[in-house]
């Protein structure tokens, strides 16, 4: 039946307006994703009302294009200036920026593009052919299962992102603490706000992320450039692109990461930000050359990018099948679907099958567009790393201030960004990895909610995490990882190098 409906849906592709809208969205999305502070959620939220008056086959492809473009776009500054454009690209920055520092920026950008396109393609096929069965597995995930999944993600991030698991765990703990600022999600009591009303809503993540990644990177660079002459920091750039052999070598990693991304995307509540870390961590564990991770591994770039891009099509599954958005961006898309009279829910496919398969066809075509567009753009993008720091960094600072303000239109967010810059600088100096802190902040609300929901269900008994089979399995895996990390840190000498320092 899907094949038939796809054929029906392909008719949408004959509409040049639909294709043009998708392409425009894709290009806009890449720009938005590439600018630190402008997020895909914001872009889609601002532009969604304008699509209300367009045809569904024009408006929705435009928004889908932005979504896909932005998730890919986040990897560009992650690689070129070690500043992820979106939280989802934080894992990409580790190896991507290391490669760029070695002059291999083009290889990294191309690998990121290929991994994104392949993962997106596979996840779109999953969306088309197994949306309904996958969604019904995902909906069975209860609160105890989510609690353990969040815990699993945090342990994984602490374990894989820094030079030592202890420092990673410290960063995670700090992130959990910062995430507790603001309203208690259940009772509405305010926590750790010290009477500051601006903190009632919590510490906004995007300004903090901009400060910790972008501004602190600039502080570190400024300190270094104060001692060295500008000319000496130029990197000899290689024009070499990725080879067929490199793509083939990374393919198993890409496939595995796509699987992880597609599954996590289908679980409501876990987005690309989590998926990129789990995919990266898994790839590092399975790699023949794990020592290369963090020092410039093409496989690492591929794992992270495939992991976050596979989420996008998959996140549409619970949104369309149950009307349940998996993250904020699909929540906005849900609204756009509704405004077009396409009410997401169990009846959507029955009532609007051909239109939906038209969207799917467009998703596949935008993939091809992304590849062509990306390969063209990379020829120019890689030169960003060659822009003299005296020009590049002040421009980035201006963008940071603009971006941090734009999130909530709040001046207070500048203070958060600046505090983040100082904290990030201190962490870089102390060799404590920054990504675990940011990701922990992102995941803590979910973890806290599902933990407290589980405990309400069980009337306070912790046994609920053992009696539920999925949760029990995940708990065993978490215990295994913690045990392994503990054993490794005791039995091996301290690794000396860290990828966070510039």
């Amino acid at each position: 039946m899907p094949v038939e409906a796809i054929a029906h849906g392909l008719a949408v592709l004959a509409d040049p307006m639909a294709l043009a809208a998708a392409f425009l969205g894709l290009a806009a999305g890449i720009v938005v994703g590439a600018l630190p502070g402008l997020t895909a959620t914001m872009a889609v939220a601002v532009l969604a009302p304008f699509t209300f008056f367009m045809d569904a086959t024009v408006g929705i492809p435009f928004l889908l294009g932005i979504y896909k473009g932005a998730i890919y776009g986040g990897s560009i500054p992650a690689i070129t200036i070690n500043t992820p454009g979106t939280a989802a690209a934080a894992a990409t920055a580790i190896d991507g920026a290391a490669l760029a520092r070695q002059g291999l920026g083009r290889k990294a950008l191309e690998m990121s593009l290929v991994a994104s396109v392949v993962a997106d393609l596979l996840a779109t096929l999953v969306l088309i052919f197994v949306a309904a069965p996958l969604a019904s597995v995902a909906i069975g995930f209860g609160s105890p299962d989510f609690t353990m999944l969040y815990l699993f993600a945090l342990v994984m991030i602490a374990g894989v992102s820094g030079s030592s698991a202890a420092k990673g765990a410290f960063a995670v703990a700090l992130g959990v603490l910062l995430a507790c600022v603001g309203f208690d999600p259940m009772s509405g009591a305010s926590r750790l706000t010290f009477g500051v009303i601006d903190l009632w809503g919590g510490i906004s993540l995007v300004p903090l992320l901009i400060g910790m990644f972008a501004l602190s990177e600039i502080l570190v660079q400024a300190e270094r450039l104060g001692r060295e002459k500008l000319a000496q920091v130029r990197v000899e750039m290689s024009a070499a692109g990725i080879t067929r052999g490199e793509v083939r070598g990374a393919m198993p990693t890409i496939l595995r990461s796509s699987g992880i991304g597609a599954f996590l995307g289908a679980l409501p509540g876990l987005g690309a930000e989590v998926s990129c870390w789990l995919a990266y961590g898994m790839a590092k564990r399975r790699s023949r050359d794990p020592a290369q991770y963090g020092k410039g591994s093409l496989e690492g770039v591929a794992a992270a990018e495939a992991g976050n891009n596979a989420v996008c099509p998959a996140a549409l599954i619970p949104m369309m099948v149950f009307g349940i958005p998996g993250d904020t961006i699909t929540a906005v898309l849900l609204g756009a679907f509704m405004a077009q009279g396409l009410l997401p829910g169990p009846l959507l496919f029955e009532q609007h099958g051909p239109v939906l398969y038209g969207f799917f066809a467009i998703l596949l075509v935008t993939n091809a567009m992304l590849l062509v567009f990306g390969l063209g753009a990379i020829r120019y993008l890689r030169h960003i790393t060659a822009i003299p720091p005296g020009v590049l960094y002040p421009s980035v600072i201006a963008l940071c201030f603009a971006g941090a303000f734009a999130v909530n239109n709040a001046v207070f967010d500048w203070w958060i960004m600046l505090a983040g810059a100082l904290l990030g600088y201190a962490m870089r100096k102390a060799d404590v990895p920054i990504p675990p802190l940011v990701i922990a902040m992102l995941l803590t609300p979910g973890l806290e909610n599902s933990l407290r929901q589980s405990l309400t269900l069980s009337d306070g008994s912790l046994l609920i995490f053992v009696t539920e089979p999925i949760s029990a399995t995940l708990l065993a895996v978490v215990a295994g990882i913690v045990g392994f990390l503990g054993w490794r840190s005791l039995s091996t000498p301290r690794p000396s190098e860290n990828q966070q320092g510039a």
Binding site: P49, I139, F141, G188, G323, A339, G345, P346, R452, T456
Partner: protein
């Protein structure tokens, strides 16, 4: 792409998001764009309504209306911010009973019910009590009977403490003298997911959230908290028909900070009254399964005063 073009695009984006448009020449209100504050995150019914309202607003006010989302604290952050903004009519809040009538009375928030003046009610939704298709009850009588026989075992999905679902379930428990267990999920989306996934048995939510599931048969409609049956769900009885007088309207309305001059309030109210008759507005509002139940400043104010007194009484009774 060169750095320069990315920079100018960024500046363009920032201008589009935040900067005021050039001032109009008119000497009377409004002389500049009006900021329309939605206190909830994007994607919910509030932001959806806000997007539609602000898109069609300009001809009815002679100035653009800029939609700003200030979420956090279950709506309290945005409401606080508007209450502290200038009382000049240029910043308006898209409020509801939770943040404007209930929570400021029962929680220690930085604003009170007196800090706002009602301008216009756009519409309302009742709550629809629903049960999972395979729950051990399928109508109000069997639901109450189950709760009486198994105290504390009837687990339901809650959205937020002192929120929409929370309030109607408290009313139901109080009226029927039963004990049920609510799990807080933070919003209608996750609340319905856990209900469908089997973690909970029941829920009460807006018709736009549960309607499609009732039609598909995955959820059973129990009753609605309105005086009459809801148009798009003609088979679901009102709670009153079944002998439990539970009326609760979750309205969406526009409010301004206390101290705003009367003529400004009147002008805004009149503008919204015309806006809700806009053809494009009506088409879009119909598409999102919503409708118009307009009330001007005076009638809306009377309704809110009554509602606040009623909710206060319910909560005093609970504690």
């Amino acid at each position: 792409m060169t750095m320069r073009s990315t920079t100018s695009l960024a500046i363009g984006a920032v201008l589009m998001l935040g900067a005021p448009a050039p001032l109009a020449m008119a000497a009377e209100f409004p002389e500049k764009p009006i900021t329309f504050v939605t206190p909830y995150p994007p994607g919910g019914s509030h932001s959806l309504h806000a997007g539609i309202i602000t898109t069609v607003a300009e001809p009815y006010f002679g100035q653009p209306m800029i939609s700003v989302i200030r979420s956090g604290g279950g709506g309290a952050v945005g409401a606080t911010e508007v209450s502290k903004s200038g009382a000049d009519g240029y910043t308006v809040l898209f409020g509801d009973p939770t943040i404007n009538s209930l929570r400021p009375q029962v929680e220690d928030l930085p604003y009170t019910t007196e800090d706002f003046i009602p301008v216009a009610r756009i519409n309302y939704s009742p709550a629809v009590f629903v049960a999972r298709a395979d729950a051990p009850f399928d109508d109000l009588a069997s639901m109450i009977a189950y709760a009486k026989e198994n105290p504390g075992d009837l687990v339901y999905s809650n959205d937020n403490v002192n929120g929409f679902t929370y309030t109607v379930f408290e009313l139901l428990k109080m009226n029927t003298d039963t004990d049920m267990k609510g799990i807080v999920y933070g919003g209608g989306g996750p609340a319905v997911q856990k209900l469908l996934g089997g973690e909970t048995m029941a829920y009460a939510g807006a018709p736009s959230v549960v309607g499609e599931h009732i039609k598909a048969g995955t959820l059973t409609g129990i009753c609605t908290t309105d005086f009459e049956r809801w148009e798009s769900l003609p088979d679901v009885p009102t709670c009153g028909e079944l002998g439990e007088e539970i009326i609760f309207h979750f309205w969406r309305g526009v409010l301004v900070p206390a101290g705003t001059p009367d003529d400004v309030v009147a002008k805004l109210s009149a503008g919204f009254e015309e806006l809700v008759k806009d053809e494009g507005f009506l088409r879009l509002i119909g598409r999102i399964n919503s409708r118009v139940d307009f009330l001007g400043a005076e009638a809306f104010g009377a309704l809110m005063a009554e509602e606040q007194a009623q909710l206060k009484a319910v909560y005093d009774n609970l504690n």
